[in-house]
């Protein structure tokens, strides 16, 4: 048994090449807060670790086209300190900032959270609700895919073996919009979501919901975009009837397992509770 090779390329092309050459023996590393833990526990045994933090653009936040582009390896702490991002997308920032502790926040990234492909990843429902898009690059060039299309099952992604997630693109934010993310954990921190729910809403001047996206985590093999839940809210003022319809849509979409973290029945119930609460917070943030 030999050591692990460590590469820290400074261009995307270099990283893509190294990833392709390793033929499955390499792992990308952003913050390493999942990867290094898995390596120490013997669950990941890469021959090569490719650190992507020195690639320009992967560690910053840029205003672009009326929205934002967030480098895939940007840490939670940096997201939390970005005033404009916090104002436009408080739900995404709160989701990212729930990850781990202060120490973990200094490293943990949105890209790593998504690409670890855990159904319980906290930032993913918030990103899906926000209609965030992934900018991905591999030997076949660059492409963009919605966040909800990236994870396909626990630990599995739709990216090609040599593709790298470069950044997230967040759309421009209309007036009277708000988002929120809530999770249930038995403790107050350092825990993994039993259920998570992200909601993003836009209202018109009269307070009627014009656009809604609802996403739930840890209730299926991947985080889910529950289109029916969003549709239930659109055209309403989030009255009880609309919220009940949202509940029904969320409950119907949930396909949880029963495990040490919660029973299927409990998870489904909580998904509805959190989606409702997140929707009400999002409305308040939208000023509607």
């Amino acid at each position: 048994m030999s050591g692990v090779d460590y590469l820290s390329p400074t261009t995307i092309a270099e990283a893509v090449k190294a990833l392709g050459q390793a033929g499955g023996g390499a792992r990308l590393m952003a913050g390493g807060t999942d990867l290094l833990v898995q390596m120490r526990g013997g669950r990941a045994k890469p021959q090569t670790v490719i650190d992507i933090k020195r690639i320009p653009g992967l560690m910053d936040i840029r205003a672009e086209g009326g929205g934002f582009v967030i480098g895939a390896a940007t840490s939670g702490a940096v997201l939390g300190e970005h005033a404009a991002l916090r104002k436009a997308w408080p739900g995404i920032v709160e989701a990212a900032n729930l990850i781990g502790s202060t120490q973990v926040q200094g490293r943990a990234s949105l890209g790593g959270n998504l690409c670890n492909a855990s159904p319980a990843a906290d930032s993913v429902p918030a990103l899906i609700a926000a209609a965030a898009v992934c900018i991905v690059e591999g030997s076949n060039g660059r492409r963009e895919i919605p966040v909800e299309k990236v994870q396909i099952s626990p630990g599995k992604m739709s990216l090609a073996p040599d593709e790298i997630l470069i950044a997230f693109r967040l759309p421009p934010r209309p007036a009277k919009s708000g988002d929120a993310y809530l999770r249930l954990i038995p403790r107050t921190e350092m825990d993994i979501a039993v259920v998570g729910a992200g909601v993003s809403l836009t209202f018109d001047a009269s307070g009627t919901c014009m656009a809604a996206r609802v996403s739930v985590g840890a209730v299926a093999p991947t985080a889910l975009l529950v289109e029916g839940a969003g549709m239930a809210l659109v055209g309403s003022k989030l009255d009880e009837g609309a919220l009940a319809k949202m509940d029904a849509a969320v409950a119907a979409a949930c396909k949880p397992i029963s495990d040490k973290r919660g029973t299927a029945e409990y998870r489904t119930k909580i998904a509805c509770v959190l989606a409702r609460r997140a929707a009400l917070i999002a409305r308040e943030r939208a000023g509607a």
């Binding site: 038995p186 403790r187 825990d191 993994i192 973290r261 029973t263 409990y266 509770v273």
Partner: protein, 757 residues
């Protein structure tokens, strides 16, 4: 000390809050814990563990592992030699040597997932890991049993063919998983139930919970060519580690020197051995030092949690609330080998209360789980959960205040416990009165919240201890303790010595000695160190004072009766002599002329430990849509005798309460259908984190100092984990609207109960 228990007002050091002497090393990382030792040529040891919950070991083929370059030794249970076996006193009770050995390396059968079956020592961690994979173990997988009730059932898979229940006559014809039946009681229980105004009853259960010490087990062992060995390890007792290693490897005690490392928590879980005999066996085979460090997963899989319990309880009482009788059955998980603390559960269950008629039956039950180890007041928290819940039901039924009903039934000096001891120096009732008067209890319960009250008891022990006091040439003092410092005992030892010697605390340092540098001592457990080792320290310091007075008298050529020791100096009271006091420094610097070095070592068997009593109040709220509980306010009161260092006593109360709240709300061992543990990590084994708890308020009740200790100390470390389970559950039950009988009170369980109504 000759004049017995001193009054609080005269004390200068005891009762103060000096800075913790081991604090700087611990916060700067300079402290050396079990995993911090390195020796030249040291090898990495690793342990191969059973993937099965229950399996016969048909064959262990180590040849491929031994052939791997870099592998220096492979060991199995065959490398142990326990000879006649026997028992070793282990701090909270005796432990059978053969079972400890078979737990360190399996003999014939793997009895739980994670049970050690073989070990390797290699030149690198990578080679050791590879060698583990090359050890081939052939198993015959057997049916397993995890649950305690299922383990008792007639058709259960039997773990040990030679285990016949003791405590029943006639001796059973067949082996079973019930190791011991304990029966305890007094009076006429059926008669009292027949005459009762009110009765309550319930069926309760608690989950197995781990001590959760932050430092995983770790050791380095080095076997010398002449047979003399050294072990560095983190444990609650260097002498216990020595005794167990010697018995398991058939070595004389004097050939093993155990050097205690700093210990990162034990809570009872480090009053046995897992790694040390294995590392020594490996080192003996290859002649090189071997280090073994457990991973967190190994800690959960293979070191002792405490028992989960199943209990049935019935109380009989008068209309006025006086409990007249109680009947209780306790079934405790022992894990893979006998030895649950069920007898302690029986003894402590009603120790807070004066109940005339009692019938307690305990069952010690083995199943395919890791062997339990002591955990803070072993056996008491589960029993108290059932008892304190039942008393809460009784108070409700009678419309009584929960503190009043406990005062009415509370033990007072002179009463007899069910196990025969007479209650003395007991402040249980005063403590309840102080708790009742506390602002927390006087504040009405906030809307949407509920308040739970519960009490608890622990014996506390004394026993064998040694300590030395050395006066340095410059008048400073070194105290040598025989007990690893888990809860701040270096501070309390130094403070008691400083008090006796009349020195400022800064002049006294305390160190923890290895097995060759101080006389024997029992382990740091049973809340005994401040009491027993503290008593040895005081006696050693007293002897030093006598010696200093003798030296002063010789210097002044006066009668020793005319010499007093005051504020760290000898003072001559002979009016015929016009001499200035002789300070410690002056006497120490001249010691060569007055008889040589000034030092004293005392070894005692400390008698007269006083029991401790606690009572806690917990305010909490529950999210009605998710079932999630938040503890809002918490107060812990305890009868502590006298607090030597009040901050550390408060810390013990807070720590015990925190662990008890975790036990009540979220901690549990979760097993899958194959009998394998699903949550062997801190991520899924949910101990509370700091932000889960409010500041825990404390009340130190010092109205009844222990007259048998020089400063009145009682043990304080274990009592505070006894009340929280029921304090939390009593509050949760109020909000849910029905009695919650199963721990943990996890969100899903609470929500289900609220929806069932």
């Amino acid at each position: 000390m000759s004049d017995g228990n001193q009054g609080g007002s005269k004390l200068k050091v005891v009762g103060q809050r000096p800075v913790r002497p081991d604090g700087v090393d611990k916060v700067t990382g300079r402290a050396m814990f079990g995993a911090d030792f390195h020796l030249p040529g040291m090898l990495t040891g690793r342990i191969k563990r059973s993937p099965h919950a229950h399996a016969r070991i048909i064959r262990i083929d180590t040849s491929a592992a031994e052939a791997l370059a870099g592998v220096k030794a492979v060991a199995t249970g065959a490398d142990f030699d326990t000879g006649a076996g026997g028992e070793v006193e282990a701090g909270e009770g005796a432990t059978a040597v053969k079972e400890v050995a078979a737990n360190c390396l399996a003999m014939g059968k793997a009895l739980y997932q994670g049970h050690a079956v073989a070990a390797v020592a290699a030149t690198s961690p990578e080679i050791a890991a590879e060698a583990l994979d090359l050890i081939e173990v052939t198993y015959e997988v057997l049916p397993h049993v995890i649950d305690v009730e299922e383990a008792i059932a007639a058709n259960a898979p039997v773990l040990h063919d030679d285990l016949f229940t003791t405590g029943v006559t006639p001796k059973p014809a067949k082996p079973s998983n019930v190791a011991v039946k304990t029966v305890m009681g007094r009076g006429d229980v059926p008669g009292a139930f027949a005459a009762a105004d009110v009765t309550v009853e319930g069926h309760y259960s608690t989950a197995a919970v781990h001590q959760g010490y932050i430092e995983p087990h770790a050791c380095v062992a080095s076997f010398g060519a002449d047979g003399q060995s050294v072990v560095w390890c983190s444990s609650q007792g260097q002498f216990l580690v020595r005794a167990l290693c010697a018995k398991i490897l058939n070595m004389p005690l004097s050939d093993i020197k155990v050097i205690p490392a700093e210990i990162g928590g034990g809570f009872g879980g480090k009053t046995t051995v897992y790694l040390e005999p294995v590392a020594l066996a490996l080192s003996r085979k290859c002649g090189r030092p071997v280090k073994i460090v457990m991973s967190r997963e190994e800690v959960f899989l293979a070191s002792g949690p405490t028992s989960g319990a199943v209990m049935d309880i019935k109380l009989a009482a008068t209309e006025a609330g006086k409990i007249t009788a109680a009947e209780m059955t306790l079934k405790y998980q022992a894990g893979a080998f006998p030895g649950s603390p069920v007898h302690l559960g029986c003894m402590t269950a009603f120790a807070c209360y004066d109940v005339e008629n009692l019938a307690l039956t305990g069952y010690d039950v083995v199943s395919n789980r890791p062997k339990v180890a002591a955990y803070r007041a072993p056996g008491a928290p589960m029993a108290a959960f059932a008892v304190e819940s039942a008393i809460d039901d009784l108070a409700k039924k009678l419309g009584m205040d929960p503190i009043d009903i406990r005062i009415l039934n509370g033990v007072r000096d002179g009463m007899k416990t069910v196990y025969g001891a007479t209650v003395r120096s007991c402040a249980f009732v005063e403590m309840l009165e102080q708790l009742k008067a506390h602002p927390h209890y006087q504040t009405p319960v906030a809307a949407g919240q509920a308040r739970g009250v519960a009490a608890g008891f622990w014996f506390n022990i004394g026993g064998e201890s040694s300590a030395a006091v050395h006066v340095d040439e410059d008048g400073g003092v070194t105290v040598v303790s025989s007990n690893p410092d888990i809860g701040g005992s270096r501070a309390s030892m130094a403070m008691m010595a400083a008090e006796v010697l009349g020195l400022p605390i800064e002049k006294v340092r305390c160190t923890v000695a290895d097995t060759t540098s101080i006389g024997f001592s029992g382990s740091t457990g049973g809340s005994r160190v401040t009491f027993a080792t503290g008593m040895a320290v005081c006696q050693a310091a007293e002897k030093v004072v006598v010696d200093l007075k003798r030296r002063a008298a010789a210097t002044w050529e006066c009668d020793i009766a005319n010499v007093e020791w005051r504020d760290g100096a000898a003072v001559c009271t002979d009016p015929a002599k016009d001499v200035k006091p002789l300070s410690m420094k002056a006497l120490a610097s001249k010691s060569a002329k007055t008889g040589g070095p000034i030092a004293s070592e005392v070894s005692i068997n400390a008698q007269g430990a006083a029991a401790g009593y606690g009572a806690h109040i917990c305010d909490l709220q529950i999210d009605r849509e998710t079932g999630r509980t938040t503890v809002v306010r918490y107060t812990a009161a305890q009868d502590v005798g006298r607090a030597i260092h009040p901050s550390y006593v408060e810390g013990q109360l807070q720590g015990g309460a925190a662990q008890g709240v975790g036990w009540a709300l979220n901690e549990e061992y979760v097993y899958g259908p194959k009998g394998t543990l699903d949550n062997a990590s801190f991520l899924d084994y949910r101990m509370p984190v700091a932000s889960d708890l409010p500041m825990i308020d404390t009340i130190l009740v010092e109205t009844k100092p222990n007259p048998r200790h020089p400063f009145g100390a009682k043990g304080v470390g274990e009592v505070p984990i006894v009340p929280p389970l029921a304090a939390v559950a009593n509050a949760v039950s109020q909000i849910v609207g029905k009695r919650m009988t199963s721990l943990p009170l996890s969100p899903a369980r609470v929500l289900a109960a609220m929806e069932e109504k």
